[in-house]
């Protein structure tokens, strides 16, 4: 009860801060970041807090995850809710990045001698302070109480502001529905106790999914024990997608 009161008062404060022309203020209101790291207090009230981790050293770039995601979620051709990037660093330091032109054919060998090469799977980071939620003018981009950043398909007006705002390029405007579309962490699966399709499809366990609120969850243990990074931390988005063994070249 007291929690609810607190929340509602915070909403009122939000309202006050949003008084005409003072949009600025509302972005200053933040206070302590909720859900900054694994197992934060804000999520605990609501049960689960889903998180995601990628071990880039395990990724073999087979693209099974991307194919599974597309088939599971009806992702339109030419767009991706997840993808895998190949980084190739040459001896002189030049970096070239590519993704397969055809997901069904996967990565092909390329000319040139890379001294360092690796794959990096990318996915919506399900940020604790997601920019897409911040900029959505109608409240169609939202974070469910379990930490998953979702799109309200019945409410989205298709303005594309969230697509511009996402620093990770994981959102797109669906060419048929004209709504914003993005990774849902396979919300229809995880709410029924299954893993996301990409996690299940990964042959090497490079993609991991789990409950950050559960200290015994494999993901929580991994994040407690191993060193990780998030993508573009300077954006202040506090992603809940953690990368193990990430190279400095990866943006």
């Amino acid at each position: 009860m007291s929690d609810q009161r607190l929340l509602s008062r915070r909403n009122v404060l939000k309202g006050l801060a949003a008084a005409p022309g003072i949009i600025l203020l509302s972005t200053l209101k933040t206070g302590p970041v909720s859900g900054a790291g694994p197992g934060d207090a804000a999520g605990k009230i609501k049960g689960h807090l889903w998180g995601y981790a990628v071990d880039t050293r395990k990724c073999i770039g087979c693209y099974a995850c991307v194919r599974a995601c597309s088939a599971e979620n009806d992702v339109p051709a030419g767009f991706f809710r997840t993808w895998v990037e190949r980084y190739r660093v040459q001896a002189d330091g030049t970096v070239s990045v590519d993704i397969p032109s055809d997901p069904d054919e996967g990565f092909q060998p390329v000319e040139g001698d890379a001294v360092k090469a690796f794959f990096v799977p990318k996915i919506c980071n399900h940020c604790a302070k997601s920019v897409c939620n911040q900029v959505c003018p109608v409240g169609a981009a939202y974070t469910a109480p379990d930490g998953v950043v979702l799109v309200d398909d019945a409410h989205c007006i298709g303005c594309g502001y969230c697509v511009q705002a996402c620093p990770y390029g994981t959102r797109f405007i669906h060419p048929v529905t004209h709504h914003a579309s993005k990774c849902t962490l396979c919300y229809h699966r995880i709410t029924r106790g299954l893993q996301p399709a990409c996690v299940m499809a990964c042959p090497t366990g490079a993609r991991m999914f789990g409950d950050l609120n559960d200290p015994d969850d494999r993901l929580s243990i991994i994040l407690q024990q191993r060193r990780y990074r998030v993508l573009r931390p300077e954006m202040g988005t506090h992603p809940r997608c953690y990368y193990l063994g990430l190279d400095a070249e990866v943006i």
Binding site: G21, I23, G78, V135, P137, V138, I157, G158
Partner: protein, 388 residues
């Protein structure tokens, strides 16, 4: 080397979103010009004060049109006011736009009530329309006229911050997007306001001179000279700010400059460096400078001012293009660029854009048929003051 994130191959914001800030810029600029007369007492601008206010109104009417065409779900557009998320810069649009539209309508109503009444006393469809507009009150007293003057001045004063807000919020909308280094600068807000004023003054000069030439009016010299001076001043500020923005990023040599430099050198070289700065900023700057500083034959001076205005109209359009499209050409991978040029006939294509942009001029012409926009000029014939 050129790596674009897979979802960025198609740009999300098309030429429609270029047009939208362009049109709101014209609104804000034209309104501020009319307020210069109404509020700040620049009496030499009287000749264009009515014209500028009505121009602001018609452009304002069409400002949301490109947005509606761009929206994936235009029928849901009112969600922006039904469930606004005030953390979003965009959520302000519905309210700021509505408030501003209301204000401009009221200001037109109060400042042109006498004209409407005069028209309503006549016969024909125009009179019928005007009778509805003045709400069937065909009497006008001096006391009411005084009240109208006061209300107009009050509204014109209120309108300046609202005009800045309406357009500044567009700049804020881009400038606050941290994900895009080409947009993310606090200067964006200011640049948008100043370029809006430039485009507003430019479109007024552009239209006024054309209309005057077509109708063989005697041009109000004081008015044109004053506007040219304002235009010169505001364009200097606007272009300086645009240059300062890029110079400060370039000088700081931060990580983002590596990719922004490539963007400017390759994808935006023509539209940004050559067109926006070298041709459409430098030449108008020189033309206006010559017209303002030197005594020239009026025909030459007017020609220079008109040319400069037309070029500045294009300059501001280029600036919008380079901001809106340029920012999207840059991939968030920071390793490559995508490409965009609007198609001719698609929904968000060039034809639709041109149609949207010409519609306000048509409405302006119709409005002029009812209430003359340039009252103080000698009329060629009764009832039809111009062929603008």
């Amino acid at each position: 080397m050129n790596f674009v994130l897979p979802n960025e191959v198609n740009v999300t914001w098309t030429v429609m979103i270029v047009l939208y800030p362009y049109i709101t810029g014209l609104v804000a600029g034209a309104f501020i010009m009319s307020s210069l007369y109404h509020v700040f007492g620049r009496l030499e601008l009287k000749s264009i004060s009515r014209f500028s206010l009505v121009s602001a109104f018609v452009f304002l009417l069409f400002a949301p049109l490109p947005l509606l065409i761009h929206l994936g779900e235009p029928l849901r557009s009112f969600n922006i006011m039904i469930t606004p998320n005030f953390n979003s810069a965009m959520a302000g649009f519905g309210f700021i736009y509505s408030a501003y539209l209301l204000l401009v309508i009221l200001e037109i109503w109060f400042s042109l009530r006498g004209e409407f009444i005069r028209c309503a006393r006549g016969i024909g469809w125009k009179a019928g329309l005007c009778r509805i507009v003045v709400m069937f009150n065909l009497e006008e007293t001096d006391a009411e006229r005084r009240a109208d003057g006061k209300i107009t001045r009050f509204l014109a004063g209120m309108g300046i911050p609202l005009a800045c807000l309406l357009h500044g919020y567009v700049g804020f909308l881009f400038g606050s997007l941290k994900a895009n280094p080409w947009w993310s600068t606090p200067l964006m807000f200011v640049i948008f306001i100043f370029s809006a004023i430039v485009s507003g003054i430019a479109v007024l000069i552009f239209l006024y001179l054309i209309v005057a030439w077509i109708n063989r009016w005697e041009i109000d010299r004081a008015c044109v000279n004053s506007m040219a001076r304002y235009l010169w001043g505001f364009m200097m500020v606007a272009v300086s700010l645009e240059l300062l923005e890029i110079l400060s990023i370039a000088y700081k040599q931060t990580e983002e400059w590596e990719i922004l430099a490539r963007l400017i050198e390759t994808k935006l070289f023509l539209s940004y460096i050559v067109l926006q700065f070298l041709i459409f900023s430098l030449i108008p700057f020189l033309f206006l400078g010559i017209a303002v500083l030197f005594r020239l034959k009026t025909r030459i001076a007017d020609g220079l001012i008109w040319l400069a205005s037309s070029m500045l109209l294009i300059q501001v359009l280029l600036m919008r293009w380079n901001v809106v499209i340029g920012g999207q050409l840059l991939s968030k991978s920071m390793r490559g660029f995508t490409s965009y040029f609007p198609g001719l006939l698609e929904r968000e294509g060039l034809v639709v854009a041109v149609v949207i942009f010409t519609l306000p001029f048509g409405i302006l012409y119709l409005f002029n048929r009812i209430i003359p926009l340039f009252p103080s000029h000698p009329k060629l014939s009764e009832g039809d003051s111009s062929n603008s």
